[in-house]
Amino acid sequence: MISKLRLFLIENAVVILFVLLIAFAIPVSGLPASFLLQEILTRLGRNTFLVIALLLPIMAGMGLNFGMVLGAMAGQIGLIFITDWGVVGLPGLLLAMIISLPISVFLGWLCGSIMNLAKGREMVTGFILAFFMNGLYMMVVLYAMGSIIPVFNPEMLLSRGYGIRNVVGLDGVRQCLDNLIPLKIAGLNIPVFSFLIIAAVSWFIVWFRKTKLGQDMRAAGQDRAVSGAAGIPVEQTRIVAIIISTVLAGIGQIIFLQNLGTINTTSSHEQIGMFSIAALLIGGASVTKASIPNVIVGVILFHLLFLVSPMAGKNLIGSGMLGEYFRQFVSYGVIALALVLYEWKRAAQEHASRATLRGGAPADGKEAAA
């Protein structure tokens, strides 16, 4: 019984740590509960979709998909186009998603193919690929748009005549998903439609796991050699996982930005990968295992911490900047921690699996059964 409790504590160490941290920081910050609740509801609607985009590559054994930033870029390009063309409201968002789709699929295919060349090092590959793609994205947005790619609305362009301005207002589609089904309970605005979309994509993930393709992804994720020997097209399956992840990230970024209402052309996509991954890990996921509950718990905890840490820092030390540093520290730190924990667990397992081969001389033939 005690060992079971211990196991539970070890398995959920990260979640418990953050719950304790937040339980301490909320009263210190002095922020009212109604404010926190409203913010969390908003941020759940805003961020959950993006975090869900990470689930399939983890299942396919490719770790945390830092390459999701590629999808975010595709989503932003879609949004820039519909803003330029003046398509507003729900049709505008749909069109943005449709524009992002082929770009996401292509980038996902590219990312997956490159990761197949770097098996076992997918995370760092995705990370660096995101930097590389950022360069191409900048070139398209800051040079090609307005010169090669026609932009009709001169207000979106930089004063030099080509390249998109740093900030693009999304007034036409601002919060049009969140407010599609207005609902107010006890003074709290609930983004019902965004939640419905999240429910739908969650259902998609659950359903997908039950398909043959999902089963193949799980198999390839656990042992590429065995799966390949059984005839599963491992490389293709891995590429599909990344493509789906990238497409979901593109849609997720559109949902994210319609809630914020503005695009920061050069930087909106940059931190998305880091924050989504940190949120997922805080929710108790690991490099090899992640579920929808991990996503929800993670988004709530991560953003609560985001909300309360500046005020808590100010009230404790008298400096709001401390909270800002703390945020950075937490998001990078939790990723590092999760990676170290994963390696440590793997080493421990490997050691345990070889334990029967070490030490003493058990009676003849018994050691294999142990």
């Binding site: 599963i232 050691e367 294999a368």
Partner: protein, 549 residues
């Protein structure tokens, strides 16, 4: 059986890898429901034969094979292993090819899952339909039932005992509708004796249902117990093909290791020459190994106790994977080890390579390019390196001993001496070790060990992958060094003749333990029996050897 149409006929199978012939004209038939025991030493060609049968990529890449395969009355040409599976040949591998986080059912039906129909199939293809878990479970149950054992279809593989994993693999092969022949490669190697018994019973059950079985095993007792017919391969040729009934372990063992008369005569001559020196062999124990275990992947040593006498050449032989390589690697600190090792009565620290080297023990590794050499450095550096690091040789003090400077002149002298002594073919002492041929690399490795002037020298697979001329020189050098400097040498080798021509005594390792120690004059069959672990029930010979002391 002769009247029955064979399910599989191998006709004149031959194969050479890059001019190196490994199989010559191997032919035999397998009838439905027949159990064939395929035996042979390592390198006899068993695994190459199976690779040919399953059309593994390595065969096609190296130019295909000679002869033909007739399966079920038709000549077959498999393009890949899936073709072989399709016509009904199943393979159970030595290593488990199971997915640890999947259940028994999921593993049995891996990539052959039952699927629900779905409208989406037309758009996205069949992989988008969901799994029909109920049907899958009943299919798995049906396959398990054929085995005559109980397996929980919902249990995860990683939580299973080893025996159940093996049964899961077999169930996976049985689950194909048309399976007619199953090849099992060392299926009992990881099982306990009781588990192995159950497995053998299961195989008999399957054979009774008309499934032919090719059973590859080093455990000859199982071969005699289980098989209808035994096919013995040696040096790539089929030596014998006879009914298992009435044969004995001894007979199979001697067929497996038996050498040509010529080779035997050579060894006998060498033996006689050595016999004359044997008077001097009543020496004291220099190295005592007690209850050594070594966790070296693929070469696990479980419990080895061994006394090495001052000035002798002790051979350690045995089949691959039984643990003979683990012994030197464990003692020299290159693999995690435990137990006790004493040199001249004082304990030797394990898991500490430097401490072992400081006790004047040296090691010529079987992994020449990985452990043995600094490939990008010159011959002089390679020879002097360990001696410089461990024994402060080839250094000159500078500033009153505050700094130590490398003495290139001393190193060059040393290199020149060994190049001459060992006939190392090179452009000069500065030539990169990586550019030397295998035989010359081995000579550099030997020189490196000799430069330490060791009391005890471990030599592991000294002639692996080098040509005949270099082989002779390496072995002669070892013998000479042993005679002239009194160095105690422990030589590990897969080649029995080589051990018999060089060593005084030869210990045979089986399943991580010393199965017995024989004088080099013992008959080949006696070694063969020890290698096959046939004497497990009798007290090991090593005990008798130890009590003499």
């Amino acid at each position: 059986m002769d009247s029955v149409e064979p399910i599989l006929s191998l006709r004149g199978i031959g194969k050479a890898f890059y001019g190196n012939r490994v199989l010559t004209d191997v032919s035999f038939d397998v009838a439905p429901g027949e159990i064939i025991g395929l035996v042979g030493e390592n390198g006899a060609g068993k695994s190459t034969l199976m690779k040919i049968l399953f059309a593994m990529p390595v065969i096609g890449e190296t130019g295909g094979f000679e002869g033909s395969i007739v399966f079920n009355g038709k000549e077959v040409k498999f393009r890949n292993s899936f073709d072989a599976l399709d016509v009904g040949i199943g393979m159970v591998h030595q290593e488990f090819s199971l997915i640890p986080g999947f259940t028994t059912t999921e593993n049995i039906l891996l990539n052959r899952e039952s699927l629900h129909g779905s409208a989406l199939i037309d758009i996205f293809g069949p992989r988008i339909s969901t799994l029909d878990r109920l049907t899958m479970e009943s299919r798995a149950q049906k396959a398990i039932a054929k085995l005559g054992v109980t397996l929980d279809p919902k249990m995860l593989i990683r939580e299973m005992p080893v025996g159940h994993k093996q049964f899961t693999e077999i169930a996976r092969e049985l689950c194909r509708e048309n399976v007619k022949l199953i090849v099992l490669d060392e299926p009992t190697a990881v099982l306990t004796e009781s588990e192995a018994e159950v497995l053998l019973a299961t195989l008999r059950l399957l054979a009774a249902e008309g499934i032919a079985i090719i059973f590859i095993s080093h455990r000859l007792r199982e071969i005699v117990e289980l098989c209808d017919r035994v096919v013995v391969l040696r040096d790539g040729r089929k030596i014998e093909d006879f009914p298992a009934k009435g044969t004995s372990i001894k007979e199979i063992a001697s067929l497996m290791v038996g050498r040509s008369m010529e080779a035997q005569a050579q060894i006998d001559a060498a033996s006689e020459a050595r016999l004359r020196q044997d008077g001097a062999q009543q020496a004291e124990t220099i190295l005592a190994i007690e209850n050594l275990w070594v966790d070296m992947p693929g070469e696990t040593v479980r419990n080895v106790s061994l006394q090495v006498k001052q000035g002798e050449i002790l051979g350690i032989g045995g089949l691959a994977g039984q643990g003979k390589l683990g012994i030197p690697n464990g003692i020299m600190g290159l693999a995690p080890a435990g137990g006790s090792v004493t040199l001249r009565g004082k304990p030797v620290a394990l898991n500490a390579p430097r401490a072992v080297l400081e006790r004047n023990m040296a090691f010529v590794s079987e992994d020449r390019r990985g452990v043995g050499l600094l490939l990008d450095e010159g011959i002089d550096w390679n020879i002097a390196f360990t001696a410089m690091q461990v024994q402060d040789k080839f250094l000159k003090p500078l500033l009153g001993g505050l700094l130590q400077w490398r003495s290139d002149a001393a190193m060059a002298d040393l290199a020149a001496e060994y190049i001459k002594l060992l006939e190392i073919k090179c452009t000069g002492p500065g030539q990169r070790a990586g550019n030397l041929s295998g035989g010359n690399q081995q000579k550099v490795c030997l020189a490196k060990a000799f430069a330490l002037s060791p009391d005890v020298l471990f030599v592991s697979e000294p002639t692996r992958g080098i040509d005949i001329g270099a082989k002779h020189l390496v072995l002669d050098t070892l013998k000479k060094h042993n005679r002239e400097y009194g160095t105690t040498i422990i030589m590990v080798s897969s080649e029995l003749e080589e051990l018999r021509s060089v060593c005084d005594r030869i210990a045979i390792v089986y399943e991580g333990r010393i199965e017995g120690i024989l004088p080099h004059t013992a008959r080949v069959e006696e070694f063969g029996i020890l290698m096959a672990g046939a004497d497990r029930d009798e007290p090991p010979l090593s005990l008798a050897e130890g009590s003499e002391q």
